[in-house]
């Protein structure tokens, strides 16, 4: 790794992680309290990945996301007010209340949507990457997906096609150890999803997904590789989700132990990152607290916006089906 990470970039990554964490903690509580309808898949624990990757990208770079997509949108620049409005099903939401959590998107930011279908994103990311190449731009498309999705045929087809066409596509596997409620050991015979990369003819890299700097550096390398026309990379980030597959407490299933959750919490991407920034004199504990408070206020403002927004009118049900 040749490029030195700047203080400004470190602070940027920190800000993005905190913005995801507080949004998700709040949204999760609201879902469990019945204020937000439907199902939320929370990103808490995985923040280092979205932040470490997205800090490299502009609005002209595309991402596809998964069912666990809020974090990706926030890291890509999503606004709290429009996001909360969408989660509430309000007319002022990013998708006018027609998509909700699982389809939240903002094309102006290059965020091509969360996706309710596991493995739905990779073929679309390939299409976006193709579009970049077709229009002779030097942007990239980043596909976020999980260890569970790595078993879908769509991922296989997409990875093969992206490598064959040397598309500027980065496959970021957020391996949180579980496909829904099934541990990785029970859903695939390998430990590292990145092992599959050579089979497609692309580099495979494994990084600590709880370490934003590690993610930042590995993503930077993969993005440079893609921008120079060398094709895709499979970047696997080892991570963990603190909450359940759905919501906070989820369905109360005993598929993992409290000890396991606690062990991962000790590797918390924000806590450890803040300790490192304090140690390096980049961000004091007080300054970090101030950032948390500011973000908390923004979250409350976003909720207020959502709550005061109108519900969509039933007469708009069949609008937006066709252009």
């Amino acid at each position: 790794m040749s490029t030195q990470i700047t203080d400004a970039t470190l602070l940027d990554i920190h800000q993005r992680m905190v913005r995801i964490r507080i949004f998700e903690e709040t949204a999760g509580k609201m879902m469990e309290d019945g204020k937000i309808p439907g199902a939320l898949h929370l990103y808490v624990g995985q923040e280092a990945i979205a932040a470490g990757v997205m800090v490299h990208l502009s609005n002209e770079d595309y991402i596809t996301s998964s069912h666990r997509g809020h974090g990706h949108l926030i890291a890509k620049g999503g606004e709290y007010d429009r996001m909360f409005a969408e989660l509430y099903g309000k007319a002022t939401g990013y998708c006018k209340g027609k998509g909700g959590s699982m389809h939240i998107s903002n094309l102006e930011l290059g965020m091509l949507g969360a996706n309710g279908i596991v493995g739905g994103g990779p073929p679309i990311a390939v299409g976006a990457a193709f579009s970049i190449k077709f229009k002779q731009k030097d942007n990239v498309a980043v596909c976020f997906f999980g260890d569970g999705a790595s078993n879908e045929g769509s991922f296989h087809e997409a990875a093969n096609m992206a490598a064959l066409f040397k598309l500027p596509c980065i496959f970021v596997c957020e391996n949180n150890g579980y496909g829904e409620y099934t541990p990785q050991a029970n859903h695939q015979a390998i430990v590292d999803v990145a092992d599959r990369a050579p089979g497609y003819g692309m580099p495979g890299v494994v990084v600590d997904g709880m370490d934003a700097v590690a993610v930042y550096e590995a993503a930077g390398e993969a993005i440079r590789f893609a921008r120079q026309g060398s094709g895709p990379t499979l970047l696997e980030c080892k991570t963990y989700r603190y909450y359940d597959h759905v919501g906070v407490r989820g369905m109360g299933l005993s598929y993992r132990t409290d000890e396991e959750v606690e062990r991962w919490r000790q590797k918390d991407p924000i806590m450890n990152f803040e300790a490192r920034l304090a140690e390096q004199g980049i961000l004091s504990a007080d300054a970090a607290r101030t950032i948390h408070e500011q973000v908390e206020q923004e979250v409350q403002a976003g909720i207020a916006f959502a709550e005061s927004s109108p519900m969509p009118d039933p007469s708009t049900i069949t609008d937006d089906v066709y252009a």
Binding site: Y62, T64, G93, Y94, C95, K96, G97, K98, G99, H103, S105, N106, L107, L112, G113, N115, G116, I117, G120, P122, P123, I124, A125, V126, G127, A128, A129, F130, S131, I132, F134, K135, A141, G153, S154, E157, A158, N160, M161, L164, T318, D319, D320, V321, Y322, A323
Partner: protein
């Protein structure tokens, strides 16, 4: 059909498809063709032949045999500003890519609150008659007409094939163009210039006074043959080719039934649960009082498409079966 020129050239359906795709690639710089064997081989039925030489490998290229990624390529490229033409070699292969068709392509605009535009044209080959058996012969239009967000067209003649492909590519919505393999050799007039047949407009192929036949795709040709036989029985059939199934031109069908008071729907697809059921329902909802007889439907039996020519010949509806159905309906 508009007679644009006094003596337009005649082309087979297969060449009209090529002509349509050529027109799209010429007039739309953001259009490209992607699919299995489309470039080097020119398509398994040859309707992309010559286009690689003409437009080069950036505009038409072969993909791996990966239908889900092919459709995903279309979705992702379209939502980021391209106008892809995606080839799905056989309609039967929709099973391989139904998630991308049904859950991504059809729904993305709606799920995103109208903020995504998906100008994807998918060309796909349907129909029985070549002994290609159960997995290469189906007519599955009912699957996709049930999905809000998609448009579905079904060209019958060479003229329609070119005009509907161009219309599909100019449309800002996903349009699936269902081609018919037994129609490839059928010839007809095809103007040289680029022209679009409006999506959503049916074509009255034969005007008649006392019987309406709504025929889908290749069945239009069979209905025309049947009409000649029916003429001798005092039946003057009006034949409607919807050309577009989604959105469906209900008005043209209803106006015809109000005039003729009788209707029959014929399609190649399995009769049970076929698109003919939807047309039947619309007629009884909107023209019940005008009907002098129950609405008749002709379609394939409730079985997979058989391989043996002896069986397949009895599977696909034809003029004889249309005539027999009319006779039975009217107790002639």
């Amino acid at each position: 059909m508009a007679e644009a020129q006094p003596q337009p050239r005649e082309l087979p359906y297969v060449a009209a498809i090529t002509d349509g795709v050529r027109a799209v690639l010429t007039e739309q710089p953001d259009a490209f063709v992607a699919g299995e064997d489309v470039a080097g081989a020119g398509g398994v039925y040859g309707y992309y032949r010559g286009l690689l030489k003409e437009f080069g490998p950036n505009r038409i290229f072969d993909t791996p045999i990966s239908e889900e990624a092919i459709v995903g390529l279309g979705v992702g490229a379209a939502v980021t500003g391209c106008r892809p033409i995606i080839d799905l070699m056989f309609m039967d292969f929709m099973g391989e890519c139904m998630d991308e068709i049904a859950n991504q392509l059809a729904k993305m605009r709606y799920m995103f609150g109208g903020r995504a535009t998906l100008p994807v044209t998918m060309l796909t080959m349907a129909g029985a008659g070549m002994s290609l058996a159960a997995q290469h012969s189906q007519s599955l239009e009912a699957w996709i007409c049930h999905l809000p967000g998609l448009k579905v067209v079904m060209p019958t003649t060479p003229y329609d094939a070119k005009g509907l492909i161009i219309a599909a590519a100019r449309d800002d919505n996903p349009v699936i163009v269902i081609l018919n393999k037994m129609s490839l050799a059928i010839t007809g007039p095809v103007p040289e210039e680029s022209y679009a047949i409006p999506i959503g407009e049916a074509n009255i192929v034969r005007e008649g006074t006392n019987y309406t036949i709504v025929a889908l795709g290749r069945m239009v040709h069979e209905a025309l043959k049947a009409a000649e036989v029916l003429k001798d029985l005092g039946i003057d059939a009006e034949i409607i080719d919807p050309r577009t199934l989604q959105p469906f031109d209900t008005d043209t069908v209803i106006a015809s039934v109000k005039k003729t008071h009788r209707a029959l729907i014929v399609h190649e697809a399995v009769r049970f649960g076929g698109f003919g059921g939807e047309i039947t329902a619309q007629i009884q909802e909107l023209a019940f009082d005008y009907l002098d007889a129950p609405i008749a439907r002709v379609g394939a039996p409730f079985s997979p498409v058989p391989f043996s020519p002896a069986l397949e010949a009895h599977y696909v509806p034809n003029a004889d079966r249309i005539v027999a159905e009319v006779k039975q309906q009217l107790a002639l």
